[in-house]
């Protein structure tokens, strides 16, 4: 009985978060405040929430509101990495003799949840020069354009940060001799 009440309360909270997000999206995309258009918005939002509830996908993956600040700061870090990787790829591609050294490497994925793995694999693909080719249970097969882009320690840092962005803590091995591990 109490478990049921608890479940109802959790569902209510997630539907509230989802409704807030959907209202913000609708107003951003529409920008009209005529009664007819607003009522259409209310109807479609109610329909969406009802369908999500019926599909039993009203959970922390649908409305991950707790980790929004972490995710935003992760995107800032990721953008910096993207700029750096873009520079490396541009330099390799535009140089006259274009020396590339493609490699395939296996990168371990210590993430436990699916969304953590998705976040990590998408971050790898988003960074130019590395594409995640195949995702297995405990590792990702990564194709890298330049062999120095397949440094496992760089991937370990990205794994840790991407897991933190969705509120998951994982154990990653520290880069030996970096001094970073001693301070933290």
């Amino acid at each position: 009985m109490t478990e049921n009440v608890f479940r109802e309360r959790v569902l209510l909270r997630y539907s509230f978060i989802l409704i807030v997000a959907l209202v913000a999206t609708w107003l951003t995309l529409s920008g009209y405040f005529k009664p007819m258009l607003l009522s259409l918005g209310v109807i479609s939002i109610a329909l969406t929430v009802w369908i999500a509830k019926r599909m039993r996908i009203l959970d922390s993956e649908t409305a991950p509101y707790l980790t929004v600040p972490q995710t935003l700061s992760y995107f800032c870090w990721l953008f910096k990495e993207i700029v750096k990787a873009n520079m490396a790829v541009v330099r390799a591609v535009l140089s006259p003799d274009m020396v590339v050294s493609p490699v395939l490497t296996r990168i371990p994925t210590p993430q436990k949840t699916d969304i953590g793995k998705v976040m990590f694999a998408n971050s790898i693909t988003l960074t130019p020069g590395t594409v995640s080719v195949d995702i297995q249970d405990d590792h990702i097969l990564v194709h890298a354009l330049l062999s120095d882009m397949s440094d496992p320690w760089d991937f370990a840092e990205m794994a840790e940060r991407s897991a933190f962005a969705i509120g998951e803590t994982i154990d990653v091995p520290r880069r030996p001799g970096s001094g970073e591990g001693a301070s933290s």
Binding site: V89, V99, P102, T125
Partner: protein, 135 residues
């Protein structure tokens, strides 16, 4: 470039009228031109990469470059030209969806090729010189 000059001309006319310079207009136009040029540079480099690189997987990297920095920088250029908040938010949403969907599409293509048995070219590769190309 003409955008900057147009803004400067507007500003000088306004200055004659009421000694008022539209600094925000100048800054936003400079920002637009800079990020548009940078975005076009990355898209051009990506296109050259698709043409020059040797195999399917390496070409994917060059294609990925155009839809990360290239597209995002052009969206940034458009954001500088917005005059209301709603437009800015819409463009930010477009940027966000691009950032989420484009790696998914890249992964789907790479995964399909890998599953279909296309082996990547590995090891060092160097662009052929003109003599090698002719033979």
């Amino acid at each position: 470039m003409s955008l900057i000059f147009a803004a400067a001309a507007d500003a000088s006319e306004a200055a004659k009228a009421a000694s008022y310079v539209d600094w925000w207009g100048v800054i936003s136009n400079i920002g637009t031109v800079m990020s548009m040029l940078a975005g076009l540079f990355f898209i051009m480099a990506g296109t050259i990469g698709v043409l020059r690189l040797p195999d399917f997987y390496t070409r994917l990297h060059a294609a990925g470059m155009t839809d990360t920095l290239g597209a995002e920088l052009i969206l940034l250029a458009l954001i500088f030209q917005c005059d209301n908040l709603q437009m800015v938010l819409k463009l930010l949403l477009v940027a966000f969806f691009l950032l989420v969907t484009s790696p998914t599409a890249t992964h789907a293509v790479a995964h399909a090729a890998y599953r279909a048995g296309l082996r990547p070219l590995l090891g060092e590769y160097r662009a052929p010189t003109l003599d090698e190309d002719a033979s």
